[in-house]
Symmetry: C2
Subunit: 309 residues, 2 copies
């Protein structure tokens, strides 16, 4: 039931919530954002949002906001961007112009709580035509460290494009399909920039960083180096170019709510060559900025195009 | 393979890592803590740790450290407790005397990364006789808001005491058994204090806060109020008294590494009566301190007993 569907026949792409119970609630408290429909004027605060960038680390999402403000010519000298969710330490949220930047912590459950509340926020704020991009870090397979991967399909540990979601104790399978056109546009942005390598490939999403990603350096490990290499080779053969921990539920929830969505992650290391992050802080920091630069370029291009049209 | 096992026949309870690969590593980087065996003297920093308290929120873990310092008579006027993981925003870590306090974010994947690195940290630091307690928040079933639940068994969405962990693409089932004696001792602490209600019961651990816990207020909901009530009634009949998102992997990983472990969570609301957290900030804040007070009492009691013996 697309409660968010426009009734006026406009071609705006609306945000869907699929929950008939929301209509009967007099108030909706977005608890983990410390925001609510009674306490905040969500349409005034967020109605102009057209791009949402999400990433694990609150620091990175603040730095993205500073970066995009400068790129879009919206930054003022000594401007500080307050954390909109300052009353909680669960997530951090920043906004500049049409760009919202939100942290999501690590793993499927953490990003899923954030996305439930983000989708409701965008719905309550009556946003339209929103594009959401996850900008993150990942382990690469057969890639030079620092390569940026635009996700074609988010796949599970058996390399299938699906997410199993438990509802009332029963598994429900959801598609993790992403927007193919958007992925191609982002790949093109990487080529335009020519500052680092950008590739398109499948992204494996796991529930665990160590055993779930065949690492040999966790507290527990019951398999050999050879077992690890065989598993990663199978993943590579299935088109997997990087591994992270949020893309599947991100893809599934954005699809369910009619949000144009993409995943852009930098590979911090090549998992075929090792498991530990031994690059220097400065090198890793430079790598982490690459998805920001790529998505910043995309947003600028889109906004310039819409100004002209 | 219990690499951490004592060879001297002492009755100390050692931390096990179950990973033969660790021995051949010249350096171990605990990436998400921003600590490492080459860069930090882990035995000097952490060798005296006897209690580790973990919880989702970094703010709460700092406030627990301030509280326990006062309780144990270890606080100095104007003392500030620096975040040991200050170089990263993934987790926060504080220490006072024998008590380590670490945040873990939300959900199984987030706490699992932290626990892999915590277990290796305790192992590298050659700690012995460590007790780990998760102090958290949860949704209660049939409980008065503010009731503290000590977990008997951590169960999955089908009410079974197990965790399915994917390793190299294949499911492995692990036991989520906790230390029964420790749970009884913690329950007794609640009775000693008599400041709030404390009960023992099963805790359901889910991968999702909204659909996974039968909430009616997420962005998506495909079931009725009646379906929700039926599911929660089934959970109650299976002994479930609260629902949270970390206990199963916490129990499983502590068991695998020989750590005495318990889960103590306050119920912020009664899910039979609603889904949203409508209590005031002050009331919720008071509730969140209860697991800290209970576990603080337990630690004090144990340290006093060991001084006498």
């Amino acid at each position: 039931m697309p409660l968010g569907e426009e009734k006026n026949g406009a071609c705006d792409r609306s945000i869907y919530v699929n929950n008939p119970h929301l209509e009967s609630m007099t108030e909706d408290i977005l608890y983990h954002f410390n925001l609510g429909t009674s306490t905040h004027d969500l349409p005034a605060m967020f109605g102009d949002v057209k791009f949402v960038c999400v990433g694990g680390s609150p620091w990175r999402m603040k730095s993205f906001t500073e970066y995009i403000a400068k790129e879009l010519g919206l930054s003022e000298p000594n401007a500080d961007y307050p954390n909109i969710c300052a009353g909680t330490d669960r997530y951090a949220m920043y906004k500049v112009g049409p760009v919202l930047s939100v942290s999501h912590g690590m793993g499927i459950p953490s990003i899923s709580i954030m996305l439930h509340e983000l989708i409701k926020l965008l719905y309550h704020a009556r946003c339209t035509d929103v594009t959401v991009v996850r900008i993150g870090t990942s382990g690469g397979i057969g890639l030079k460290p620092g390569t940026v991967v635009v996700t074609k399909q988010s796949v599970d540990s058996a390399f299938q494009p699906r997410l199993e979601q438990i509802i009332l104790g029963k598994p429900v399978v959801r598609s993790t399909e992403l927007d193919g056109e958007l992925a191609e546009e982002l790949l093109q942005c990487g080529k335009d920039l020519a500052e680092f390598e950008t590739v398109i490939g499948n992204t494996m999403c796991t529930l665990d960083f160590y055993e779930g990603q065949a690492r040999l350096d966790g507290a527990f490990c019951s398999y050999s180096e050879e077992d690890k290499q065989n598993y990663l080779a199978e993943a590579y053969a299935a088109g997997v170019r990087n591994i992270e921990m949020e893309s599947s539920v991100f893809a599934a929830m954005c699809k369910l709510s009619n949000l144009r969505a993409a995943v852009v992650c930098v590979a911090l290391l090549d998992r075929l060559k090792g498991d530990q992050l031994t690059s220097s802080h400065d090198v890793l920091n430079n790598y982490q900025q690459r998805p920001q630069v790529l998505v910043g370029h995309y947003i600028k291009k889109k906004l310039n195009a819409s100004k002209k049209s």
